[in-house]
Symmetry: C2
Subunit: 151 residues, 2 copies
DNA sequence: TCCAAGTAGTTTGATATCAATATAAAATGC
DNA sequence: GCATTTTATATTGATATCAAACTACTTGGA
């Protein structure tokens, strides 16, 4: 049997409409783009997001931070270890719960994120401009909210 | 200095509006969802997308397939090796160019994707329904196109 | 013809991702 | 108080991801 046992319409439907595939593609392209942007600082896009999340008043536990980033807790363990090894954050045991640890930025972490933020602003501005060109349908801000809800 | 050297407005702007972060979050959530869906078949969401792409008449080279999936060529090398090892595809040397190889589904690959497609259809239908509930703003089909363009 | 430049794919090394499992501490029920 | 259950994190193993460097082949030009 040379022909696919799958109807060609189904193949095309999945290929062109699968939100999972579309999200993976978008995520990979944007990850590469921001990884290269932050490469001079030795940061990946994910590390940037994680450090930014810790730059405000919020002092989450590892699990809470993982949930915010929609990542698995085990991934967070590994990511936090890498950043701690580089001296960008400390893992402070929670006072009330001996199981929990809270990542807290070091001074080096704050300095680095202060260097990275302007790069982000410039690049994200470009991205907005590109979106405005290709499809004026969706506001980038609304799009970010939409993407965060997906899944 | 206890306070962040980054203005709080900037932190919030990045946290709430970064399209890269939003895309990574969406990609992770959807990847988990479809990985679990296909787990009984021993497939990941990425393997499913790759096999579906090869289910039509298209017979791309590895590099062309990588470009379609917006992934790095080196990632494709590894992914193809895994699927070849499992007997789901063959890597056929290109006749005209001895450097190039074209992945071609085996019968086992066709059978497996024929089993997986109904699972995808059901789950993607649910996803559509959920999207219709939470935010009626965007058509899922248009959203897939939009996501594919991002980056 | 032959060399230089470009192209297709691979290898290596680092981090990312998650399932399954493990460990330790907290919360619950009796 | 003590046993059970739940929760927070860590460990292991497999695949995913990409940059940098590499090999082998092709192409273009002298």
């Amino acid at each position: 049997m040379q022909q696919s046992s799958l109807p060609i319409e189904t193949v095309l439907q999945i290929r062109d409409q699968c939100l999972c595939l579309a999200a993976q593609r978008a995520a990979r392209k944007l990850a590469r783009r921001f990884d290269r942007l932050f490469a001079p600082l030795g940061l990946t896009n994910g590390q940037f997001s994680m450090l930014v999340a810790l730059s405000g008043q919020w002092q989450p536990r590892l699990g809470e931070l993982a949930e915010f980033l929609a990542m698995d807790a085990t991934t967070m363990t590994a990511a936090a270890k890498t950043l701690e090894k580089r001296g960008l954050l400390h893992l402070i045991p929670d006072q009330a719960d001996a199981r929990a640890r809270r990542p807290v930025l070091t001074e080096a972490g704050r300095v680095l994120i202060a260097q990275a933020a302007p790069l982000w602003c410039a690049e994200h501005g470009k991205l907005h401009a590109e979106l405005a060109e290709t499809q004026a349908s969706t506001d980038p801000k609304a799009l970010a909210q939409l993407l965060s809800q997906l899944g």
